[in-house]
């Protein structure tokens, strides 16, 4: 019996002694001890490995006792291979030195699983960390990742005020914006001036412009994958940022060994200033009193909690909310007209709400990610106008009529998405990964657009006096029109892809299957990226892929508004499809940085637009908001070009330069007489230069220069004499210019220089503080956003026509100097 117990005890103790936890850290071999996030830690003899977390730590919970070879590697750094003994008395720290030979590749500083996937299209993928924004000039003092994205090669905007971005000839709605894996619609503040993502809460962003992996679908242009921080820094970290526009607070830290949280809040304080300003907007004299009030606010909120059940299992819960609301109301009381009152109220606003739960489970050879999410979007626009007249306003027969006139216009949209997805990463070998997964999303879209106009009145006496007793009001007018849309659909998808390494050749084949319920549409979309490291300095890449999209937003060609209409594909509006091919080179210039050249070609089918009558009649005389019908037309597009990108990321002067030579065309059978026409993003030359100079330990200077060829718009100097009333029915068609070709005119070229001067490492409020002066458009360049023609046409008595040309450019952002403050919170603030 004792022997059995001994054997069992020995077995148990040997079993207990056989495996031990092993933890360590990987940092950069520099004075800052920069943690290396995503470094590979591999035990060749045990055939097991892992990667480091954001603070460079790694852990294994059960490794066999004994001496083992450990290999630490990280892209761009020299690999360390050494021997460790398990168990270890202390957690070892491995310091990696940069490998100058490997600096040609883009650095991976984030979730290796997704990041490795995204890096398949290596030349088309741009990675940005929140730290990179530090020196970037900021509009209104607000650091903004999307604004930075807009300054990258291959990414265009329509104007300084455009909240979206346009990738390689695509549209704004063709970009998949993911916040921790959850799609977000319309994430902008201040009508698109900057995004609703609080930069201080963001950990990293990756934009793939090219052939993005099979994991991503439902869009055809790009994937913007945004990851929030997790608050896992041991001493906590965050920032308080104050700018003239808003204040934001962001902080994250561990609650205990298992749980960490992040919270960030940003809110404008324009509303109290406007409240004060409104007091000055009351005008009163002997004839009338005019009161006007303006109101605007925005806020956004991020919360994220990460709980580690074990080193292998982790649960993330995240919530994002943003809201914008703009109101203007006015009241005019005309005393001369016996207290006639006109009141006017306009409100426009939009909200985003997303929530998700993500469960990650890791085993030595597999990573399983399961996520459920909800997304809500609501846009609410209303204009109400009321005129109460106490005197005659119209003439009927021999009598004046006095009227009460009310008009009410509304436009609301609601989105509700519910999604479920699972992603599996199988680490088949050190160099081979397999990715597979499935996704299901239920979409519900509803919108309603209505206009009501009523007029009630009664006849006054012929002499203009009120009859006594006053007769009951008579309804003179009562019109109501409405248009609504309600659609529910779902998209199901499955994908399989892999990373295959054959020496210096990396292949990333993939296939994605999608089915869309509303049309019974289903498709297989192949994706392939290949990277060949020809020499240690030279890499060649190529890619090809098919893409589909089922959701579209259409509005006016000129500007984006909250009244832009969202559509889902149906039997008449087929899904938009696209094919893209890319080819490029990357060459390492050693200390001078990296240079890449990439050619791309993209074709798009079933693009949507409003028909000409819808655009023309969207604005009606008595209505404030454009009212788009649901009649759309479909067409195709083509975009191609070459992007040149040079990046230098080491040294006291760092930065990048991007140049794009591109063309983008659209063709619709019912637009432009069926002829192809330049897309609004067809700006032939696009140059961005960003330089960041660490002048000293306490001072840094950032400069961003942009040059873009002129925006194409529809404008002409040709005029013709319309037949005003061809049917002789009393109509009067306005005379105007000959506009028969869309986007045939080019505005003057756009160029702008922005500067950011930062005074760092101050100690204010006992905290590390940074003060920065940002100047947008330093030399106050007038960059036109459009040209308005108000050519006056006068007809002389002898029939001669005299035209007075009055063309006016409207400009974009003028010079804007702003000072902002950034205060570090917590010991691990970056």
């Amino acid at each position: 019996m004792a022997f059995i117990i001994l054997i069992l005890t020995s077995f148990l103790s040997s079993g207990a002694e056989q495996v031990h936890p092993f933890n360590g850290r990987v940092i950069e071999y520099d004075e800052y001890r920069t943690p290396l996030y995503g470094a590979s830690v591999w035990f060749p003899d045990l055939e097991t490995g892992t990667i480091t977390n954001r603070t460079g730590y790694f852990s294994f919970d059960a490794l066999p006792r004994g001496e083992h070879i450990i290999r630490i590697s990280f892209v761009g750094y020299q690999t360390i291979e050494t021997t460790v003994f398990i168990p270890s008395d202390e957690n070892p720290i491995f310091k990696l030195e940069m490998d100058p030979q490997m600096l040609g590749e883009l650095e991976v500083l984030a979730d290796a699983e997704e990041s490795v996937q995204m890096q398949q299209a290596s030349l088309s993928t741009i990675q940005v960390t929140a730290l990179s924004l530090t020196h970037m000039p900021r509009l209104l003092g607000e650091p903004d990742l999307i604004r930075m994205i807009q300054n990258l090669p291959g990414v265009k905007t329509e104007s300084d005020f455009t909240g979206g971005f346009f990738v390689r000839g695509g549209r704004n709605d063709q970009n998949l914006i993911l916040l921790d894996g959850v799609p977000v619609y319309n994430p902008w503040h201040l009508f698109g001036l900057f995004s609703a993502f609080n930069t201080e809460a963001i950990d990293r962003v990756e934009l793939t412009k090219g052939v993005f992996p099979a994991r991503f679908g439902s869009r055809i242009s790009s994937v913007l994958d945004i990851k929030l921080q997790e608050g896992s820094e041991r001493l906590g970290g965050g920032y308080l940022t104050v700018s003239p526009m808003s204040a934001s607070f962001s902080y994250g830290r561990p609650l205990n060994q298992q749980t960490s949280y992040l919270i960030s809040v940003r809110r404008t304080y324009m509303d109290p200033f406007l409240w004060i300003w409104n007091r000055t907007l009351t005008i009163e004299d002997s004839f009338e009193t005019v009161n006007t009030t303006l109101g605007y606010y925005f806020y956004d909120l991020n919360m994220k909690v990460v709980h580690k059940f074990s080193p292998q299992t982790r649960l993330e819960a995240a919530w994002f909310r943003s809201s914008d609301q703009f109101e203007v109301s006015g009241e005019t009381i005309e005393r001369a007209a016996d207290e006639e009152r006109i009141s006017d109220e306009m409100l426009t606003g939009w909200k985003n709400n997303t929530g998700s739960l993500k469960l990650l489970r890791r085993s030595p050879r597999m990573l399983l990610e399961t996520q459920a999410y909800l997304t809500f979007y609501h846009s609410n626009n209303r204009h109400n106008e009321e005129t109460i007249r106490n005197s005659g306003s119209a003439f009927r027969g021999n009598n004046w009529i006095t009227t009460d006139h009310i008009s009410d216009q509304r436009f609301e949209q609601w989105f509700r998405d519910a999604g479920l997805q699972q992603h599996i990463t199988w680490f088949a070998g050190e160099n081979n990964h397999v990715y597979l997964g499935w996704q299901w999303t239920l979409h519900h879209l509803r919108d309603i657009s209505s206009f009501r106009e009523t007029e009630d009145g009664f006849l006054l006496n012929p002499d203009g006096t009120r009859p006594s007793p006053q007769p009951p009001s008579e309804q003179i007018m009562n019109t109501f029109s409405a248009d609504s849309l309600s659609i529910q659909s779902h998209i199901a998808a499955a994908y399989l892809s892999s990373t295959l390494r054959f020496g210096d050749l990396n292949l990333h084949p993939g296939i994605r299957y999608e089915t869309y319920s509303l049309t019974g549409y289903h498709t297989f979309m192949p994706r392939l990226n290949a990277n060949w490291q020809v020499t240690p300095l030279l890499q060649i890449s190529a890619g090809y892929g098919h893409f589909s999209q089922y959701i579209h937003v259409i509005g006016l060609d000129l500007v984006r508004t909250p009244m832009d209409r969202w559509f889902w594909s149906n039997e008449e509006r087929k899904p938009v499809t696209s094919r893209m091919a890319t080819f490029g080179l990357s060459y390492d210039l050693q200390e001078a940085g990296t240079i890449t050249i990439e050619w791309y070609q993209k074709t798009m089918n079933n693009l949507l637009n409003f028909d000409p009558l819808s655009q023309i009649t969207a604005y009606r005389e008595t209505e404030t908001f454009p009212r788009f019908g649901s009649t759309t037309v479909s067409g195709k597009g083509k975009a191609y070009g070459v992007e040149l990108f040079w990046e230098k990321s080491v040294g006291t002067v760092t930065g990048w330069m991007g140049y794009t030579l591109s063309w983008a065309w659209n063709q619709f059978s019912s637009l432009n007489r069926g002829n192809r026409f330049p897309s609004r993003t067809d700006k032939r030359h696009d140059l961005q230069v960003f330089l960041s100079w660490d002048i000293s330990e306490n001072w840094s200077l950032g400069a961003l220069f942009n040059y873009k060829s002129g925006q194409p718009i529809t404008f002409s100097t040709g005029h013709y004499l319309h037949e005003r009333d061809p049917l002789q029915i009393g109509d009067s068609a306005p005379r105007g210019p000959v506009l028969t070709e869309m986007n045939a005119f080019r505005l003057p070229a756009y160029h702008r220089l922005d500067l950011n001067l930062a005074w760092k490492n101050r100690r204010w409020f006992n905290r590390r503080t940074e003060v920065s002066l940002n100047v947008i458009n330093v030399y106050n360049r007038f960059n036109p956003i459009t040209v308005i023609s108000e050519t006056a046409i006068i007809e002389d008595r002898d029939g001669t026509i005299i035209l007075y040309p009055q063309n006016r450019y409207f400009g974009q952002l003028p010079i804007l100097p702003v000072i902002s403050l950034r205060i570090a919170l917590g010991g691990d603030a970056r």
Binding site: G718, P726, Q728, I729, D731, M742, I801, F810, G811
Partner: protein, 300 residues
Amino acid sequence: MKFNKLKIISYILFIFCGYILLISCEMTADIQVDHEPVLQVDAVFYNDKPMPVIEIKRSFQVTGRSPVVVDPESLMVNGANVTLKLNGNLISVREIEPGRYLPITDLQPSMGDRIHIEVNWYGNVVSAEARIPDYPVEDVEVTPETNAYYSHSALGHWVYPLSVNIRIPFLPELTSIQTISDKEKKLYKNAGFNPNSVCGCPWEYQTFFKENPRGNSLSVKQPIWVKIPTDDISEDPPTAFLTVPFSITIIIPEPIYNEYIRTRYDEIGAITVTNVDGGVGLFMGALRYVRNLRVDVEVK
């Protein structure tokens, strides 16, 4: 003193910044882009009228900031080579005045007919096709009321508005309707008024767009004015039984007219509506239907 200086400097800076911001928003544009003139072709073909004169003009350039004086006659295009076809059959065309081309034919278009034109002027070629809309206009129901009440007096007449109910059992893109009594027509023609002028008068054409009504038919009520001359004896409007001849005219143009009349050029809507391929102008057909009726009415 120091504080005052600082204050003054602040005000100056504030005004300077405000000025910079203001001048940065808008700027007069001196645009010198050349415009290659295009041909303009205008004509309206009715089903109840002979072939109209076709006007052919050209566009012109307005650049810079200086006024541009244009003599409309100088824009007329003469000597153009015009090919006209009615339902595929060639029709001769003669230039009767510079830029005005008359089809030489006794043929009158009917509902559903197609008219095709091609104009060639020094290598500048444009073409267009018009079609007379085809609708069962005989099915239009016209029901005038039989009582009219005094409203006012004007131009030596007692005026009694009489409502006429019109139901059109189909729904074109645009329908224009005029109701007018024969007496009004005569009266105002003699006085030199244009019955088609815009004057807030009841005989004005009323235009209805497809999107306004509900359903698949158009029901409207339009007034005609029944008039009785005033005399020096009676001070009150009389009561009488009258027979009032009147007419209704319905004009239904091709759908392109709907877009044409609603085009407004500004920074938002930006395209010229035309059906002339390679040029501008409106070369279209229109259905015109006139019904003459008489109604016995009691005016009170």
